[in-house]
């Protein structure tokens, strides 16, 4: 039944490439703002925003809105739950590849 467990650990939330990218970036950077995300993911604003929202609903990403020099600034960070979920997703991926 080992295989059953591995499949269960693969997280649907990280199946999408953009979401996978966002989580990878947030694993190694404490806080990232929208501009930096866009710079690294190289996709449209709307695309990033909708995937970020999905991750926030899951409780994996925390969004902080503040004003820097009177300009609105939105920054993102991974929650503890998000980091744990991503780690188990990574472990599941690793096991799947090693099994073959």
């Amino acid at each position: 039944m080992a295989n059953d467990g591995i499949i269960a650990n693969l997280n649907k939330a990280f199946e999408n490439r953009i979401r996978l990218g966002i989580m990878s970036i947030l694993m190694v950077n404490d806080v990232v703002d929208f501009k930096q995300l866009k710079e690294m993911l190289q996709t449209t604003d709307g695309n990033i925003a909708s995937h970020i929202n999905t991750l926030e609903k899951k409780g994996y990403v925390a969004i902080t809105k503040q004003f820097i020099d009177k300009k609105p600034n939105t920054s993102y960070s991974a929650t503890k739950a998000g980091k744990n979920a991503f780690k188990s997703h990574l472990n599941a991926l690793e096991k799947l590849i090693k099994h073959k």
Partner: protein, 237 residues
């Protein structure tokens, strides 16, 4: 009961077969996912677009600069040996030599930075990184703090007339800057930093060979490291 058992095991075999097929189809995607994760983590936290070529160019410029400085030093010794110069003029000639040294160092520094920026910008385009993005800003800041401190310190040494320690100090501060900045770029930079620090310490022990250590530290080591990094990163970019 027995029949039931056979049926059950059959369903299991089928289940694993499906899993097996699913997994082998997905394996490619999983591998792609993993490499995507790795590249995102790397690209978002470290500046990986440092160009090896820029190291080679900087090293060559530094060697030419050291050659010029050596030539200038020789002509200084020759002019001090001739008896026709009145003693009072010796001070002026010495000041001229130091001014020329600083001038050569500045030209070497500026031209190495300009070439480095051009080549690194090219590399960043290839790697899909921004030349002035969040990663390069972090790298620049962490490089600049020890480097500017060292630069000012060397100028102060020269101001006090402590010429012998200025060249070794510049090597040591450069090494410390590289070690500090290596967290935010290619790891190879850390080893180069250690070597520069060791060269600086050696040079401060053997005072009077500053120019030789400069040529090794800024010239030869940059060429060696630039070549290593060129073959490691630039070529397959």
């Amino acid at each position: 009961m027995k029949l039931n058992g056979i049926n059950e095991s059959n369903t299991f075999t089928l289940y694993f077969k499906v899993l097996f097929i699913m997994e082998s189809e997905n394996k490619e995607t999983h591998l792609e996912d993993l490499s995507e994760i790795r590249s995102m983590m790397e690209r978002s936290s470290t500046f990986i677009s440092l160009s090896g070529l820029s190291g080679i160019v900087a090293g060559l410029i530094a060697l030419v600069g050291s050659g010029l400085a050596y030539y200038r030093l020789e002509s200084f010794y020759r002019s001090t040996e001739s008896l026709e110069i009145p003693f009072a003029n010796l001070y002026d000639i010495r000041t001229e030599l130091i001014t020329d040294f600083i001038l050569i160092a500045c030209v070497v520094l500026v031209s190495a930075i300009v070439f480095g920026l051009i080549l690194t910008a090219r590399q960043a385009r290839k790697k899909g990184q921004q030349l002035w993005g969040s990663t390069s800003k972090r790298l620049f800041l962490n490089l600049a703090i020890p480097l500017i401190t060292g630069g000012i310190f060397c100028l102060i040494l020269i101001h006090h007339g402590i010429y012998g320690i200025a060249a070794p100090a510049s090597l040591m501060f450069y090494g410390l800057a590289l070690v500090n900045a290596s967290k935010y770029t290619l790891r190879d930079i850390r080893m180069l930093g250690y070597i520069e620090i060791a060269l600086g310490l050696l040079a401060s022990f053997f005072i009077g060979n500053g120019l030789l250590f400069w040529a090794i530290g800024f010239g030869v080591m940059h060429i060696v490291y630039g070549t290593i990094m060129y073959f490691k990163y630039d070529k397959n970019a």
